[in-house]
Amino acid sequence: MNTLNTTVNKEATMPEETPIPVPEEKPAETLIEEGKTVGSPFSDDPKFKLRDVEVFYGDSPAIKKISLDIARNEVIAFIGPSGCGKSTFLRCLNRMNDSIDICRVKGELLLDDENIYDNKRDVVELRARVGMVFQKPNPFPKSIYENVAYGPRIHGLANRKSDLDDIVENSLRKAGLWNEVKDRLDATATGMSGGQQQRLCIARAIAVSPEVILMDEPCSALDPIATAKVEELIAEMSESYTIVIVTHSMQQAARVSHRTAYFHLGHLVEVNDTNTVFTAPEHELTESYITGRFG
């Protein structure tokens, strides 16, 4: 055998690739009618009234003519396969897409009958009313106290130190974190566990007493126990806030939400009571998704 200059002459024989059999299905597009949503997307007393919302990244549309009402004090879950536009849609609700240069939003988005995308609208005021919790816990690298106090401070909600202390304590209590951190409010927030960090982010969001809280997959980076705690928290908060939650976990949607909206390729396919969606979905695509045929 030639050990000095070994070359492989023969190509290694590979098993021939066999295509994975794909069940014949009608392409999803043909099942969706643009701007048409089955179920009950509208409500009598909407907090958010969204009509014909379109979002473009450059020239490519990410959201296609969605109309939806979000009722007062309801928990609505957005579900759907990756890339279906549910996060993009969520971020329109407090204009978090503004910082993306190529992103354009069209349509009518009303919060309490006031246009969110009005030119005169101050985005700072909007975000004070519509708080947000992100996918990955993102506490500021400051103390626990400072994290919660930040919002009230920039919005001038507390004039005295004692008021601020009260807000911090109340918010942490509501987030179920007070007993765990009351002795170390000055400790840095980044030293907490992932679940604690996420609850701190929720406490931070509710410290400015928003009317709506948007949650973008709040539990995707958490373990099951931390997830359970956050879900409990969502259930408690639903009494006083309107909550919009994007989730990849259908069980979670089933557990925490009153209504569920199913998104597909930028379309809002179905909105119904959570029970209905998971037990008797009206639309074919919804059924395929919740039974795990794709997504």
């Binding site: 055998m1 050990t3 978090m96 990955k136 993102n138 690298p141 919005h155 980044t190 969001a205």
Partner: protein
Amino acid sequence: MTQAEIVRQSLKRRYRKERRFRAYGIAAIAIALAALVILFTDIVGKGHTAFIKTTLTMEVTLDGEMMYLDDASDPRQLKNADFVEPLIQALMREIPGATESNRAQVRDLINPYASNQLRDALKDNPDLLGTTQTMTFLSHTNVDVYVKHAGDDAYSIKLNEQQRQWVDHLVESGVVQNSFNDVLFSRGDSRDPSRAGILGAIVGSLLTMIVTLLLSFPIGVAAAIYLEEFAPQNRLTDFIEVNINNLAAVPSIIFGLLGLAVFINLFGMPRSVPVVGGLVLTLMTLPTIIISSRAAIKSVPPSIREAAEGMGASKMQVVLHHVLPLAMPGMLTGSIIGMAQALGETAPLLLIGMVAFIVDVPDGFLDSATVLPVQVFLWAGSPELAFIERASAAIMVLLTFLISMNALAIFMRKRLERRW
């Protein structure tokens, strides 16, 4: 051949490659280290003697008649009195066999400025007149060179046979002594190597650096924040960005020419002053600071920015409360490295006249000054070897400053760095 054999064979080759690659790396580092060691040994070997001065300690009889001086408190008499004679007499007493006929040779052992020291002593204390005092004076540079470098071929000894014997004798009797060269750190430049110091250059460097820091840090950080956070993405900002990157690579002497043309010729600012030096070095360090500050701002995790925006913080609040504190360590590090670069810069300062021979230690931003690297340049070009050793000493001082600045940068980065 089975697949396992093929893999085993290729493994051997892969390991060989890895070993070879590692060897290249080690060789590269070894070469760099060796170059560094050679450089440092050379500089320290040449320069360490500059930290030693040679002095003469003698009993000086302050005889009024010999000095043509009856009243030491009278400035006019002090001006005309002879302060060299008592020194010659004192030294001649220490040298057996020295007679009036070789007084010139004796005089050449004494530093030409020693008489000034004697005059100043009398001016401060007129009562000394008529007494005998034990005083220490600088020796002549030739004596200094002979004492420190006798037997070194590189140095030419300018003493004759007779003088060498005398100096040998004086060393034995303890009149000629070596001590720490405080002159080097307490005086400005001089034509006489034994009286030349780097204090003037150090102060000049310090003043120049203060101007540079005060201008380049705020301007650089502000420019970086604007470009990174507020500027729209368009052709103009792209153009600016490209030009900043280009400026970082422009040879520093060009900035010197610019300084000469704009600050001195157009604005009519004085030559050789730290303010102009600082302005020129600001232009030179700005690109470095802007680039490193932008990198620091970019490295702030977007999640923090999003969190603050989601809380309803305005753009300004996001930047001031969150981005800036997190980017600060990186910005400071970049600035310190930029400053270290500026501290070692020579070429642009030559063009704005900071290369002048300046004896006085500068006492302000508008006083003529030189800086450390230029002082090194001046001394290194001198034909006198006594200046070469001082140039090496100045290099050592400069390197000490640079190393401490870089150490400070590392310390700050470690200290201020936040983990999340």
